[in-house]
């Protein structure tokens, strides 16, 4: 299922520290690399410290109105509290990508596409527990074609321009997520 929509709305949510906000920035920047429009609106404030963090990302060919998302087309959740908070808002026919290492509960909705990613196990494969976000982004690209992998790599280079050694491991994670959803 490739999205041909002119405007795609995503909510990405998880614990502070799981790379939720970074995943959003990388995705938004990749869209801009392709000369698309993008907005990235973070949750900010006390909830970021140890609690849940989330960001609203919109990618569009057209001009973007409100950067605030009521009902996303795509929901990426890294922990259970985030799923319980945002799943009811995912639009009918939308895509849920969730971290099945932390979310064991049965997902009640049948009107959406569900993609389980065992991120704890997957990150063990590449021996880095911090890049679950890029695995999820890789899977997201494969499923939706929202932006190209090349644009993401370019964004990674920009984002880690002061820590070049991190580009390679993030790229590896991106590839792993991309390949994982094929099987």
């Amino acid at each position: 299922m490739k999205t041909q929509d002119k405007l795609t709305k995503l909510i990405i949510a998880g614990f502070g520290g799981q790379g939720v906000l970074t995943m959003g920035v990388i995705l938004a920047n990749s869209a801009v690399v392709e000369e698309k429009n993008a907005t990235w609106l973070p949750s900010y404030g006390p909830e970021m410290r140890g609690g849940t963090a989330n960001c609203n990302v919109i990618v569009a060919e057209e001009e973007i109105g409100s950067p605030i998302i009521t009902s996303p087309d795509i929901l990426v959740v890294f922990n259970l509290p985030s799923m319980e908070k945002f799943l009811p808002r995912l639009r009918k026919g939308g895509i849920l990508i969730y971290n099945s290492s932390l979310i064991k509960k049965k997902i009640e909705r049948d009107d959406i596409k569900k993609i389980a990613l065992p991120l704890v196990e997957l990150t063990k494969k590449i021996k880095n527990p911090k890049v679950g976000n890029m695995i999820a982004l890789g899977s997201l690209l494969k499923l939706t074609g929202l932006v190209s992998k090349d644009s993401v790599v370019e964004s990674l280079k920009k984002n880690f321009k002061d820590k070049k050694e991190l580009v390679e491991i993030n790229k590896k994670a991106l590839d792993l997520g991309y390949e994982y959803v094929k099987s």
Binding site: V25, A28, N29, A31, V32, V33, E35, K36, N37, A38, T39, W40, L41, P42, Y44, G45, I64, G65, S66, P67, I68, T70
Partner: protein
Amino acid sequence: MKQKKQLIKGNHAIGKAAIEAGCNFYAGYPITPQNELTEYMAKHMRLNKRPFVQAESEVSAINMVFGAGAGDARAMTSSSSPGVSLKQEGISYIAGAELPCVIVNMVRGGPGLGNIAGAQSDYFQSTRGGGHGDYRLIVFGPNSVQELYDFTMKAFDYADKYRMPVMILGDGYLGQMMESYIPHKYEPIKNLPKKKWALTGCKGRKKNIVKTLYLTPENALEEHNLKLNEKYKKIQKEIQMYEKANADDGEIIVVSYGTASRVVKNVIEFFNKNSKKKIGMFRPISLWPFPATALRNLKCKKFLVVEMSMGQMIEDVKLALFGKKDVTVNLIKRPGGMIPTEDEIKDKIEKMIG
């Protein structure tokens, strides 16, 4: 092809524009949700060998800007609501002394310490002067990262042109969000006057005096106020900025600015696509001077004001429409850092259509 669009955070876009527009003095004191701006200036003013001061308080920062503006600096300070309240004494002095400066307010929920979410509850404070005395600020209410960038550049020019403080009235959401924008070269407006009044050392010329104290009422302070008022009237003629859509034949016109206007944009598009009823929008960009003439000239009878406050701009809307027959003005208000939803605006419009 070289990449044109860039992704940047609202607060950073202001800092970038300020540097490019030649801001050569910045003083500020940290407060959420505008910290990234102070942080940006700390780094980039230094890189450009221009002075950056993290002052000991907001009061101190605005008074440093007062001093820098009295010289020939392009001076700027930034803060968020409680911090901007602290600056009001200084802003009144700068307006009274007719000095240029740029003030950024990334508004957060109030009153008091309130919270750190974006809000629009400082509209009264910004558009009515804010401090003591009869004075005004030029106030811009951008609604995108692109406009934060563009209007910060313009703000320095208008401050110099009219010798008065110019405020960028954003909100926490605009400051915190990242958005695609197109950077461009700073081009000053035409005929910027030379700063002959500035305190630059009077060797070889008559001395300049910058003051706000005029002890006698007659032939002094009254005259000074009348002179300021002439300037404000001139600005009201020269600057009235707005954006409108479906406004000339819309059955209902939704009036909003800043972040609230982004939500309204979605609602207008919804009605364009799904309804036979034509719903229009009117977005003031200059909040002072308020684009009253353009609003008053609309034929529409039904207005809906959408604000992230208990309703402040609505007073300017009513003043603009004052005396017009059979005009109704409704309000959607979400105070305390909340954003009106598309659904509640749609519901209200449906009800108004009846």
